[in-house]
């Protein structure tokens, strides 16, 4: 019984994003960063990637059989993001445990990708950081930052990453950086005022793929601004690394916490829109 689906002819005729297509676009956007990290960090990172892929595949198949639904391959992007951010000397069993937690509790228990509200990669990385003392994330090099750019442009152009959330987060980070160091301090860091924008750029991978992914931000346009600002604020708050640069761990936890707040941000955004509508029409 096709129930609530569009009739087959229109379903066949239309050309729309499918959930698998969205994941494919994200995987394409992730390809350059993954390539750069594998090149820079060597075979250890490749083993981590394979372990992460394996863990996500196993749980995907398990849930598909338990819940009697089609298996999908959304776990691939979770594994890719995890492999980029994890440090190459993480033990493989820790990788698999963290990925299992992230994929199961972040996505699969809700019904798969698109039905939940948490970014699964952030949940996996958060588990890794919480559970194992000494576990850390790899710092982002210049190569990674540059490699993020084409993917970010692709996702922004297709509307799969919210430019509102991304820009607000970057703006908040830059403003707090300027406020913290003062304009003199920023100016003294170099002609290009490196200390103003470099922190945001250093965590650009996390900003693009964890914070402003359209599945984890608020789903209303005003809400996306607030979500981005909240994420930026939390990143600055959680930053435990001395100096102007921001640690990667801060992005992970900020993304998690901000996406937990996304539904309530939406609630208030909708209430605001409705109140404005009522006032406008008397």
């Amino acid at each position: 019984m096709s129930g609530w689906l569009l009739d087959p002819h229109r379903l066949h005729w239309r050309r729309a994003w499918s959930p698998g297509g969205v994941t494919l676009a994200q995987a394409i956007a992730l390809a350059p960063p993954v390539a750069v990290t594998l090149f820079e960090r060597g075979p250890g990172q490749l083993m981590i990637l394979i372990a992460a892929l394996l863990a996500s595949l196993v749980w995907e198949l398990a849930f598909a059989s338990l819940r009697r639904r089609a298996a999908s391959w959304h776990g691939v992007t979770t594994a890719l993001i995890f492999a980029v951010m994890a440090s190459p000397d993480t033990a493989l069993w820790q990788v698999m445990l963290a990925m299992s937690f992230g994929v199961v509790f972040g996505e699969l228990v809700f019904g798969g990708r698109g039905y939940g509200f948490l970014p699964a990669a952030a949940a996996a990385l958060g588990f890794l950081l919480f559970s194992f003392t000494g576990a850390g994330l790899a710092p982002a090099g210049t190569g990674l930052v540059i490699a993020t750019l084409p993917g970010a442009l692709l996702l922004l152009a297709t509307g799969l990453v919210s430019w509102r959330a991304l820009s607000m987060a970057a703006v908040v980070i830059i403003l707090t950086g300027v406020a913290g160091q003062g304009l003199d301090g920023i100016w003294s860091s170099g002609v290009w005022m490196r200390d103003a924008w470099a922190p945001a750029l250093g965590i650009s991978f996390g900003l693009v793929f964890l914070v402003s992914d359209s599945l984890s931000t608020a789903s209303t346009n005003p809400g996306r601004y607030v979500h981005g600002a909240l994420a930026g604020l939390l990143i600055v708050l959680f930053d435990a690394v001395a100096g102007p640069d921001i640690g990667q761990a801060a992005v992970v936890f900020a993304a998690l916490l901000a996406s937990v707040f996304a539904p309530i941000i939406d609630y208030f955004a909708v209430a605001l829109v409705l109140r404005r509508r009522r006032a406008g029409h008397g």
């Binding site: 689906l5 569009l6 994003w17 829109v273």
Partner: protein, 447 residues
């Protein structure tokens, strides 16, 4: 229209129709369809095998006996099929084979006296008796209004809901004064304003009654629909009621008041990648589509000239209506402005895969069984919903049947057509129009 990067709305491979009105092939049959009047229970005035004349009442609404439904053709009642709970499924009239073929075309009826429509009551009675009343649809709920209902405003939709629909200005140019005459008559039916929502260009109702307002909107799936106009100009909620009526129905009213006879003709666009010469046709509502499109389809050939929009499959699905909001049907819908021939969905070619393979890559049937997919909040969703508000919360409320939340988000001002464009681009593949109807029925029952 449509995002230019990656899949968005279908960038139509089909050619836009030539905006010149041809006489459509005369149809041998026409039908009055139950899907155009859902929930209506008819009391029949004719039986199978009766001879009927064009314009003769065939049945009336059991709940409102003054609202007549008339025949679009002269001929014989071929079949009457009732649906569930004694609603109508279809009433088919076959045209007389030896009668004047131009019966199904637009023909100027013999001169009769102008209709006395000096007062609102007389106008209502005349419209209801002659079968012109079903041209009106209410908001909220999108149903034929009760005979004595008083709308707070009337919206005349003179914009097209799709880029391939007939250009209203070209159609109205052929109608002469009938349109403005009809609009003036509409002012008798309401004490509020009559909004004539038209495409940019010279005012269609210049210098008309003081309660007639001209509003300019672009054609297209987001801005050309009446729901968008109502949302901007006169939002409705539980208490109020506005009516919408299409521009061709208004012209028909105007002509009826002048000449005393109802012209059942209707101009539609024949479009789609399977049509040889997309253009405008004059035909009747309820026309039998296989008759209408006979000889119009292009033969499927393996090779086409480069740049020639070619159909992808050999068989065409015939849709009454635009590709966004139409339905696969054999009869032209009463409110539709287009007939679209698109590639039909492929049958399940390979046999059902067994075991592990089927589990990993389920076929189309399993996908259909599973129901709508997840809703990914891409940016296009907000743009294609012509109501300005946040789209995703509304779609989520509709997906779970939360009538209260949907009403808060403004679903009362919508009908199925308003969500057609969104359904086209949403990742879930859900028919939000159908979900909306389910919610509206629940809200109407609570009223």
């Amino acid at each position: 229209m449509g995002s230019s990067v990656f899949p968005g709305l279908q960038r139509d491979r089909a050619v836009a129709p030539a905006q010149s009105i041809d006489a459509g092939r005369p149809v041998k049959r026409a039908a009055l369809l139950g899907v155009d009047m859902p929930g209506l229970r008819p009391r029949l005035l004719c039986a199978q095998g009766d001879r009927v004349a064009q314009g003769q009442p065939l049945f009336y609404d059991r709940a409102h006996p003054v609202i007549n439904f008339t025949s679009p053709l002269s001929g014989v009642v071929q079949s009457i099929t009732l649906g569930p709970r004694r609603t109508l499924s279809a009433l088919v009239i076959s045209a007389q084979t030896d009668a004047d073929v131009s019966d199904s075309q637009s023909v100027m009826a013999p001169e009769t006296d102008p209709v006395d429509a000096s007062s609102a009551e007389k106008l209502r009675a005349a419209l209801q008796a002659k079968g012109l009343w079903p041209g009106f649809l209410t908001r909220p709920f999108g149903r034929i209004p009760a005979p004595d209902a008083q709308p707070d405003a009337i919206f005349v939709t003179a914009t097209a809901d799709h880029s391939h629909a007939p250009d209203p200005r070209i159609v109205l140019k052929a109608c002469g004064q009938a349109f403005s005459h009809g609009v003036e008559a509409l002012t008798l039916l309401t004490e509020g304003l009559v909004h004539v929502c038209q495409t940019p260009g010279p005012d269609l109702v210049e210098g008309s009654h003081e309660r007639v307002r001209s509003q300019v909107f672009e054609s297209g799936p987001a801005t050309g629909l009446a729901g968008h106009h109502i949302h901007l100009l006169h939002p409705v909620d539980r208490q109020g009621q506005v009516w919408t009526i299409g521009y061709q129905d208004v012209a028909a009213i105007g002509q009826f008041l002048t000449t005393g006879s109802v012209d059942p003709a209707r101009v539609i666009a024949l479009t789609g990648s399977h049509v040889r010469r997309p253009r405008l046709l004059r035909t009747v509502a309820g026309a039998y589509l296989p008759d209408l499109i006979e000889g119009e389809t292009r033969p499927f050939a393996k090779s086409f000239a480069p740049g020639d929009p070619k159909p992808k499959s050999a068989s065409a699905a015939v849709l009454s209506g635009s590709p966004f909001s139409g339905r696969a049907a054999a009869w032209l819908g009463r409110y539709h402005q287009q007939v679209t021939l698109i590639d039909s969905a492929p049958e399940r070619r390979s046999p059902a895969r067994q075991g592990l393979l089927n589990w990993l890559w389920p076929g189309q049937a399993a996908r259909e069984r599973a129901g709508p997919g997840p809703l990914v909040p891409i940016a296009d969703l907000d743009r294609e919903l012509g109501f300005g508000g946040p789209a995703v919360p509304l779609l989520r409320a509709l997906s779970v049947g939360d009538a209260e939340a949907a009403q808060r988000l403004g679903c009362l001002g919508m009908v199925e057509d308003d969500l057609a464009a969104v359904s086209m681009i949403c990742t879930s593949g859900a028919d939000y129009g159908r979900m909306l109807r389910h919610v509206l029925d629940e809200l109407a029952a609570d009223a």
